[in-house]
């Protein structure tokens, strides 16, 4: 029992969906528990074992001073630290605050904003500590999660392809909806991993997995313009669930008449 590697799951600003992916492994969960010691996973257990942990899964983004300190503690206790999902990897949907004044948002949502303590920005985990692997997606794919856990515990590189969603459409035999139906699609610049679900449902990809390794966002934006998509809408597709993803952030700036940050 005690020689099994210890796994911890940590939550920061998030919806809980990515850690739920672990409980959604209905067929694998009990088998998994035979090989690893689920030592710190409050959503599933009230028993908490102290670190250090072989593997920490981190969900959520950093939005408070307290969390900024807590992620340092998590890092110190973890041999491997893996971020799971768009919040932890690119700030999440809540990173839309980074493009506005957070005080204005507080005034909109809370009657007594003075009770709220928050940072100006929502930032990815990698802005604060060294991250050993970033698993993309809003939400992550549970098979990819199992692969990452398996790989890290066996000291090998996770087998997660960095190519675009287009490859997944080809693999599953979905005709390109941009070509055949004229539907704007973020697939060409978006990291694969979901299985190209949206195009198979006759819907354009909306980039919940963030940018693929070498995205040509400029080219895609001009294709979208050609399909009649308004500038403001092009800006919004790049500035949504992975707004702090550097390639998407850069492209969104171009549609807002904002100076290029050059990052």
């Amino acid at each position: 029992m005690n020689d099994k590697p210890k796994l911890a799951v940590w939550k920061f600003a998030s919806c809980d969906g990515c850690q739920l992916s672990l409980l959604d492994c209905e067929d694998e969960l009990l088998a998994l528990a035979n090989h690893i010691n689920i030592a710190n996973f409050p959503e599933a257990s009230r028993a908490v074992l102290d670190g250090p942990y072989e593997l920490s899964l981190v969900e959520g983004s950093i939005t408070t001073q307290e969390d900024r300190e807590r992620i340092q503690t998590v890092r110190r206790q973890s041999k491997y630290l893996i971020t799971i999902g768009a919040c932890a990897t690119a700030g999440g949907i809540q990173a839309l605050r980074n493009f506005t004044q957070v005080q204005d948002l507080m005034d909109i949502v809370y009657a007594s904003p003075q009770y709220i303590s928050t940072l100006e920005t929502s930032s990815p985990i990698s802005a604060h500590v060294n991250v050993d692997f970033e698993l993309r997606g809003c939400p992550i794919n549970k098979q990819q999660l199992l692969e990452v856990i398996n790989a890290l515990l066996n000291e090998r590189k996770p087998n997660i392809s960095p190519h675009s969603v287009c490859i997944e459409c080809k693999k599953r035999g979905t005709a390109c909806i941009m070509v055949s139906q004229g539907t704007p699609c973020m697939g060409p610049v978006t990291q694969a991993g979901c299985g190209a679900i949206c195009p198979s449902y006759n819907r354009g990809c909306y980039a919940c997995y963030g940018a693929m390794e070498s995205p040509n966002t400029q080219s895609l934006a001009s294709w979208m313009r050609g399909l009649g998509v308004a500038e403001a809408d092009i800006l919004q597709v790049f500035r949504s669930y992975n707004a702090e993803d550097p390639a998407f952030k850069r492209q969104a700036h171009r549609h807002n008449g904002e100076p290029n940050e050059g990052t």
Binding site: S14, D24, L29, L30, I38, E43, R46, I108, Y115
Partner: protein
């Protein structure tokens, strides 16, 4: 749970739970006991705020369903349905027929999955004395596996109807992007027939658990549609005489911001009263809408037409799983594939309202949009904000009745009493620490 501590000086005690487990999100509990009297109960929600209502401003009305589903990974369908219905309400569109039925099928998937998760993985370990379902599985493998199997079938519905279980992609204002084929539903049907058996076993099994004696005269609030058990629509009603259209919701319920919480507390006016939403409220207000065989199953499990013991919510949830499976089967049997996957919805400057029944209770959305479909203003009241005051009230009464127990037992029972509500702190903002201060 880690973080528990007890200080005894004079006649006072302090017990802390810094991080409540087996709930979704981050919360804590603080109890103050003086001279054997419970003086103060605080359910603290410290999950960081994410400002969704602010972030929605300036986005297209068609994006609200996808954006708000990110409030909660456990009940994304509820967010999508409330957002979509509110937008259709603003635009003066009512989606009927098969598309309406398919939305209901989609929701059944979430009810089955979310309830099975809560019954087996989050709540049952309290009754049987385990820290987690994984620990419970060592002694009761068949029970835990049954729960996982049932949950998976709920997820299968969401996967077919939504493309994936968490943050599905197929629902949109006006309908869907794609509707299932009869063949796809036939495959699902086989699984649901099996799920029906699992769900009935779940009811029987939950009825064998040991329940603390604790009944309250609750104000239950739930939707009541004209002729069905509530999911996507209906009037907002209570067992104390409330019966309003959803557009009047904010005249009767008010969100208040209190210092110990990042979530807004919702109270009923007049008088800042607490009220109870969720399975027990739906059941009490719509018992007559359940098919006879389900009423019989409830009766056999010891439930009357109203259940006032929150610890027995686990049985009511199991009854709702049977209902959701039965309803899904009915929808599949009546299905013929519609020609249109969605109706056209043209934006107009207006305000739209919707409440739907998330697994853990009423979820209210209100949006104002302009002629171009841009969101001007949004208000979202999730179920856990509504139950938060009710949970504190339950704790005040319940803990008072067991003050003679040692702190660790009070803590255990308090956590269980909170889990009765299947609180979703990510929704309410975020979740739980326990602090007992005894003097």
């Amino acid at each position: 749970m880690k973080g528990h501590s007890a200080d005894k000086n004079n006649n006072s005690r302090t017990i802390k739970v810094d991080y409540l487990a087996r709930v979704e999100g981050e919360g804590a509990l603080f109890l103050k006991i003086r001279d054997n009297l419970l003086e103060e109960v605080k359910l603290k929600i410290f999950e960081p705020p994410r400002f969704f209502e602010g972030l929605l401003r300036g986005r297209q009305f068609t994006q609200a369903a996808d954006i708000t589903s990110r409030i909660c990974g456990i009940c994304p369908v509820a967010y999508q349905m409330s957002a979509i219905h509110a937008m259709e309400n603003a635009c003066g569109v009512q989606v009927e027929g098969t598309l309406r039925e398919l939305r209901r099928l989609f929701y059944c998937g979430e009810w089955i999955s979310s309830h099975a998760l809560h019954i087996y993985m989050l709540h049952a370990p309290d009754f049987l004395g385990y820290d987690s379902a994984i620990a419970m599985a060592k002694d009761f493998p068949d029970i835990v596996e049954r729960g996982l199997e049932l949950k998976k079938i709920g997820n299968d519905i969401m996967k077919l109807m939504g493309g994936r279980e968490i943050h599905p992609i197929n629902a949109r204002v006006g309908g869907f992007y794609k509707v299932p084929s009869s063949q796809e539903l036939a495959t699902l049907r086989q699984k649901l027939t099996h799920a029906h058996d699992l769900a009935l076993k779940t009811v029987k099994w939950t009825a064998t658990l040991k329940f603390p004696e604790f009944s309250q005269d609750y104000t239950f609030v739930a939707l009541r549609p004209p002729d069905e058990y509530p999911m996507n629509e209906g009037r907002v009603t209570s067992n104390k005489g409330l019966d309003i259209d959803v557009s009047e919701f904010e005249n009767h319920f008010e969100e208040q911001h209190i210092a110990h919480s990042n979530a807004l507390h919702s109270v009923m006016q007049p008088g800042n009263r607490s009220y109870h939403v969720g399975p027990m409220a739906r059941y009490a207000l719509n018992y007559d809408r359940l098919p006879d065989d389900i009423k019989q199953a409830a009766q056999a499990a010891g439930l009357g037409p109203v259940c006032n013991n929150p610890f027995k919510s686990i049985i009511v949830r199991a009854i709702e799983v049977v209902y959701a499976v039965t309803e899904a089967l009915r929808i599949i049997d009546d299905y013929s594939q519609p020609k249109q996957v969605a109706v056209n919805v043209k934006p107009r400057a207006a305000t739209g309202f919707s409440t739907t029944e998330a697994p853990r209770g009423l979820l209210y959305h209100r949006y104002s949009i302009d002629n171009q479909g841009l969101i001007k203003d949004a208000n979202i009241i999730p179920p856990t904000s509504q139950n938060q005051k009710m949970i504190e009230d339950d704790l005040s009464r319940f803990v008072q009745s067991c003050l003679k127990l040692p702190d660790n037992e009070i803590q255990y029972l308090s956590e269980q009493a909170i889990r009765n509500y299947d609180p979703c702190i990510s929704c309410a903002t975020h979740f739980l620490k326990l602090n007992i201060d005894r003097q």
